[in-house]
Amino acid sequence: MSTENNTHTSARESAAEHTLRMRLQALPTEAPDVDRLPAVLTALEATPASVTASHVNPRVRVWAGACAAAASLALVLVWKLPTPANSETSVPTAEVLTQRNGSTEQVLKQRSGSTEQLTADAELMALMERSRVAEADFLAARESTRTSIREWENQQLATLALHDLDRQLERHAMETRSSTADPTARRLWQARVQTLDDANQGRLYARVRYVD
């Protein structure tokens, strides 16, 4: 009796599932009410065909572009900025030398005159003070530029690392139709999370520069 009931129940379930499957498969295909083709083409234009930046978060794409622009600006700044006078590796620019030497000669010439001794000393002191201030400004600007470059490099490293991990994940998913089911996928996902965390903390730069 019990077996007979189970058989009936199973047959009924099977028929019901079959009906459900048929009805689901008969559902019509729907069309989007917004054309996203222009957005797709625009996004592709932003990425060269030779670069397969797959599965990068759109925000990362935007951030990478901004970082590239910031890096260009930083490099221009480094190129244009004067070099400090007292730096061991620096060479004063011609303009600075002319200004400085010219002024010093004037001061020395003035110092030779007994009546203008005090004025010349004061001018010399003022000149040295201006030089010190300019030097401090330069050092601050250089540090700021280095920070910008370091941040950009951090983001650049993050982007490259994420590209690589995402491509591995995608390839893995294509091959196995899974993404988190096995140790390889789990390891990749954990590496991705860690990379994002490192990037947010600015640790990628430090890892490459000081650990590796």
Binding site: L20, H55, E170
Partner: protein, 189 residues
């Protein structure tokens, strides 16, 4: 019985189309986009249940596919390759939406959600299968669709959701029961 997808991912690209798309020729990309956009959109809509999210995922899926055409080896139909990308992207979103623990709820709580008064009221008016589908929790709806329509096996679903085999089987069973119950309010089980 081999399920036949309600969406049309069965076609592929010929060599010239593939080459042009790899070279990012806008006209070729547009043709391919137009050919598959309804299929991609429908799949996204069925898996995610929201039009806006479906549009976003359709867009990102096409970008993913076009950017990765170099990795497409053409040993399977392009449609199947594209569908894998779409499913992968949608499931990633579903996984991130909420912990999978929501699927570990008792059958009763799932049915209670599916049979909420407003859902029943809506269904009494339309008796619409789509409404029944959309009454399910997102991950259950996705599992149901992948199993019944896209032809995924229990093993593949379990793998995609990083869950056990019994997770897929029980979710399909509970989902089917919930849909049938909604479509047939006096369904006796």
């Amino acid at each position: 019985m081999k399920p036949t997808s309600a969406t049309t991912f069965h076609s592929t690209l010929d060599g010239r189309e593939l080459s042009a798309c790899r070279d990012r020729e806008p006209s070729a990309l547009s043709v391919v986009y137009r050919r598959y956009q309804n299929a991609v959109y429908t799949l996204c809509l069925r898996l995610l249940g929201e039009r806006e999210a479906a549009l976003d995922h359709m867009q990102e899926s096409f970008i993913d596919a076009f950017e990765n055409l170099r990795t497409y080896r053409a040993d399977a139909p392009f449609g199947a390759w594209l569908r894998a990308i779409v499913v992968h992207r949608c499931l990633r979103t579903l996984r991130n939406q909420k912990s999978l623990s929501s699927l570990d709820q008792s059958e009763q709580s799932i049915l209670e959600h599916a049979l909420a008064p407003d859902t029943i009221s809506r269904l009494e008016q339309s008796h619409d299968l789509l409404a029944a589908l959309n009454g399910l929790k997102p991950k259950m709806r996705a599992v149901l669709w992948l199993y019944f329509v896209e032809g995924y096996s229990h093993e593949e679903i379990a793998s995609a959701f990083a869950q056990s085999l019994s997770f897929s089987k029980s979710t399909v069973a509970r989902g089917a029961l919930a849909v049938r119950t909604q479509l047939e309010p006096h369904h006796v089980h």
